[in-house]
């Protein structure tokens, strides 16, 4: 099945459920509704041979509604086709169906999204935090979470403090200048 045939088949089966199709630099992304996710995911795996889930990521469009966006990167090993599925999640819903029974690799990806963004996955077999410790009270990749962190304390388990940013965060300026000029310093050089 070629690339075109794959996408034609997807459009034929789920035409009215696909909210938006974007092509950018030979990469195809479909925006779908959260309620259609499992149906489309199963179809992609079983009928279109998208047997490889490369990644699941989440985006926080803070200040917009719906706030969150989840991106599924699919790849078909037999046909060498790449497909991107996007779905939007509002903060109030905050819950998406799991795909960890469709692609087992989604298990840890969904745990990471839960840990960093606080989006829950309905039907996930083991939805615990994966990077931060159980009981950490914040979701650090949300846009309203400060980069320097917030203090927290779990006696005998872990703690966090607010980090001194010392004038940062620092961004390297792209140019051909020496690194001394490209990379800003917290202290002015004359001190």
């Amino acid at each position: 099945m070629s690339r075109e045939e794959t996408f034609a088949s997807l459009s034929k089966s789920f035409g009215e459920k696909i909210q938006c199709k974007t092509e950018f630099r030979d990469e195809t992304a479909y925006t779908i509704a959260a309620s259609d996710l499992r149906g489309i995911a199963k179809f992609c795996r079983d009928e279109l041979a998208f047997d490889y889930l490369l990644d699941i990521t989440s985006i926080d469009n803070f200040g917009e509604e719906p706030r969150f966006e989840i991106v599924y990167e699919l790849y078909s090993m037999p046909h060498a086709v790449h497909l991107r599925l996007k779905l939007q999640v509002s903060e109030d819903a905050g819950e998406v169906d799991t795909v960890s029974d469709i692609w087992p690799t989604a298990n840890w990806h969904e745990r990471e999204i839960y840990d960093m963004m606080g989006i829950k996955f309905k039907g996930h077999p083991d939805l615990r935090r994966i990077l931060m410790w159980d009981g950490y009270p914040f979701f650090p990749l949300r846009k309203d979470f400060p980069l320097e962190g917030l203090p927290s304390e779990m006696p005998d388990v872990a703690f966090t403090k607010v980090t001194s940013m010392e004038g940062g965060p620092f961004v390297t300026v792209p140019s051909t200048a020496t690194s001394k000029d490209r990379e800003p310093r917290a202290r002015p050089p004359e001190l």
Partner: protein, 178 residues
């Protein structure tokens, strides 16, 4: 031909007796046989391994016995980024080491948090442990770690080890002598 004199003491032990301060002897023994606790947490651990391997050879300084049990170690080399999740584990391992013990903060991350000014990284292991030597670099080259180790050896050789280890005995001795 230089002239020789018979010594004041028995010739059988001549040459086998040295006079020194107890602290100097203790420190000399300690500093030349530091057993490191390799607390490898990030890329600095790779340089730590290189330091231990044949090319740089930390054995030249008597610190080649890396034990993965804190109970057999003298110096903890914190090599890498200490996240808050790991921080209390590092502290716990440090607490399991027997006295006397020292800490080397190897690299920018262990010393100050390095480039990780973030919610997840402890900004320097000295917020939890008493650090003896800080080594700059990201990661430091093995030579830098060896230089840090030599600095620690210098520091150990200046310590008042005996008074630190047996304070009551030293107090009684001083009372008896005064």
């Amino acid at each position: 031909m230089p002239e020789t004199h018979s010594s004041a003491y028995d010739s059988k032990i001549e040459g086998n007796v040295i006079f020194t301060r107890l602290d100097a002897a203790l420190n000399w023994v300690r500093k030349n046989s530091l057993w490191p606790m390799p607390m490898g947490l990030a890329c600095c651990a790779i340089e730590l391994m290189a330091t231990a391997a044949s090319r740089f050879d930390i054995a030249r300084f008597g610190a080649e016995v890396m034990r993965f049990s804190p109970r057999q170690c003298d110096v903890m080399i914190v090599a890498g980024t200490v996240t808050y999740k790991m921080a209390l584990a590092v502290k716990r391992i440090y607490e399991q080491m027997p006295e006397p013990k020292w800490v080397i903060a190897m690299g920018a991350c262990a010393s100050t948090g390095g480039m990780y000014r973030s919610y997840a990284v402890l900004q320097g292991i000295d917020q939890l442990l008493p650090v003896d030597v800080y080594i700059s670099g990201c990661p430091p080259r093995p030579e830098a770690l060896l230089a840090g180790l030599m600095k620690l050896q210098e520091k150990i050789s200046r310590e008042r080890s005996f008074a630190k280890q047996k304070p009551e005995l030293v107090e009684r001795l001083e009372e008896a002598l005064s």
